[in-house]
């Protein structure tokens, strides 16, 4: 069983959903982002998404755009990101790592070589924002050969018919983009999420994580409760950005502040559980 499947199964047995924090590789530098990655599981991360910086992140809001710029400025390359994951794997064999980014750097690296090297480094899944199933043939076979899951995004605009098509190309888990918009902007209501879940469940047996616009512990707990996991990205990157000095360098506040926030998110997700009662109000 893959690390992703094993983790979701274990969490289901505990009766709760997953907290999936995001960090941008090399933001604001390699050492800080690697230290953050290494500390995330102990702070309560169940799975971790690692952003691969790209010069033109056209599906992302300002917070992730800035994080990507910091990462690139610090010298991020795909090879560097894979090395960072390999360093993390030396100490953690269980926590699934999902790389998230855009197609072009992967094309430049070479589709098959990237899948092989990513799997070797200890990556479990890939989310390529601008690679819809219609174009995914270039990556699907190499990913499958390397044992990498391709995690599919589905959106409120995805029709039932298209949902079946998209999910026939999915593995690992399904990432539900809960708003129509870019990352870190609007937030879907609990009612919206409650309403959409049956539609998704009917189309897949894979675990479902919700992302885009989840900022607070309460929102994370609600999303992880309704679905199987909650992705928190921009809120954490904002916190990180707020701790940087005037030159954009990490300070002694950087790690503690981000990790505190992850702990608070994790505590809320764990307290609510999957079958627990919804809080009043």
């Amino acid at each position: 069983m893959s690390r992703i499947a094993a983790r979701f199964k274990a969490l289901a047995a505990q009766g709760r959903g997953a907290l999936i924090p995001y960090l941008e590789a090399f933001d604001p530098d390699l050492d800080t982002s690697l230290a953050l990655l290494k500390a995330m599981p102990a702070a309560g991360a169940d799975l971790i998404e690692v952003g691969m910086p790209f010069s033109d992140p056209s599906a992302d809001g300002p917070v992730i755009q800035l994080a990507a710029r910091r990462g690139l400025k610090a010298g991020a390359t795909l090879a560097g990101v894979l090395k960072m994951i390999a360093a993390f794997r030396e100490q953690d064999q269980e926590t699934p790592i999902i790389l998230m980014g855009y197609l072009n750097p992967v094309e430049a690296y070479g589709h098959a070589r990237f899948c092989t090297d990513a799997a070797k480094a200890g990556v479990d899944g890939l989310i390529l924002v601008d690679l819809p199933p219609e174009e995914a043939d270039i990556l699907e076979q190499p990913a499958q050969d390397a044992g990498l899951d391709i995690i599919r995004l589905v959106a409120p605009t995805t029709s039932d018919e298209r949902l079946r098509y998209v999910l026939s190309h999915a593995s690992g888990f399904v990432y539900y983009v809960s708003i129509t918009g870019i990352t870190g902007t609007r937030t879907a209501s609990a009612d919206d999420l409650q309403a959409v879940l049956p539609r998704l469940r009917a189309a897949t047996d894979l675990p479902i994580a919700i992302g885009f616009g989840i900022r607070t512990p309460e929102q994370a707990a609600t999303a992880a409760h309704i679905a199987d996991g909650a992705v928190v990205a921009s809120a954490l990157l904002s916190t990180l950005a707020d701790t940087l000095d005037a030159e954009g360098r990490a300070t002694d506040q950087t790690l503690p502040h981000v990790l505190e926030q992850i702990k608070a998110l994790a505590a809320a997700v764990r307290a609510k559980g999957k079958t627990g009662e919804k809080k009043a109000g």
Partner: protein
Amino acid sequence: MADPAAQHRAAATQPNSLRNGPDERGHFGGRYGGRFVAETLMPLLLELDKAYETAKADSAFHKELDFYLRDYVGRPSPLWFARRMTEELGGAKIYMKREELNHTGSHKLNNVMGQILLARRMGRTRIVAETGAGQHGVATATVCALFGLKCVIYMGATDVERQKPNVFRMRLLGAEVVPVTAGAGTLKDAMNEAMRDWVANIADTYFLVGTVAGPHPYPAMVRDFQSVIGEETKEQMQAQEGRLPDVIVAAIGGGSNAMGIFHPFLDDASVRLIGVEAAGCGLDSGKTAASIERGRPGVLHGNRTYLLQNADGQIDEAHSISAGLDYPGVGPEHSWLSDIGRAEYVGATDDEALKAFELCTRTEGIIPALESAHAIAYAAKIAPTLPKETLLVVNISGRGDKDIFTVAEHLGVKL
């Protein structure tokens, strides 16, 4: 003019025609183009594809478009024999396709007119667009004023600065112009921001792409709307010289004016097609916008095409004196035409474009856009080497009034 729908069908029925692309996935030559966008946008692109196919097959749509092209845009545009320039250069007979005479001063309105009618058919009430030099932004703001639609134009902050007259024009037309400060603040960044707006406002918004790039169906649709340039050129040259032209030269940023004049000639093997990219400070200076000549295939803004990028697949900043050519990619059909050798792609530098700007102004009394000046520069370079009976058409895609500040600055003149 012949019915464009019928023309398209006629071309598409010839099995070996180079005009049959793209395939249903939006791929040219099986490799370029495509639909590389976030899932949120996929259903919208599929809907747009369907709406465009329906409109394309509907003679009422073409009738409406023809009406606006004639009475509002001012088509057909003349094919002008440039006598003094021809004499000065002493070679090929130079003709100019006068797209700068269109309403709003460039070829951009051909495409914008087609897409705005489509947006209206689709019931969209808010239009977003990206712009570089501001020509596409002005054209879009114009039709939004014409039809009373809300208009938001994304423009790189650098371009807002160097194209002030167009920014003012767009605002007069009632558009909201949003300066984009990300990156170098040029067309690529404006494109990113327009895509972000679209994904956040899908219910009422139509994304009006200005060039033959972006996800399918934009490259094919924009090409179809711009093909009126080449169709007219063919008829006009036939009327004036009784035969096809020998050489067609057009400037390439995204490549819509070039694709528009090339496409009707793709199956006429005797016609040399030359796309002139902006070489900036020189093809090997590192400050260039020549995506085909100095880039390699990759994926950006929804399509696979030649891109200026580094070894890690990060997109480079382009450089050109002309804001309209200052883009690190190119339309995917051009990438394919380059690979199969049907069209040639060359470069003209900032300095060469400035010289051509002066040459055209001085000899023909036509002030060309700096974009078009790149095409003139290359035409002027090869014309003396060609026999006098050679018929060379250069596409004057826009007028240069918007560029007089930039040109004055380079000539050391303070306005």
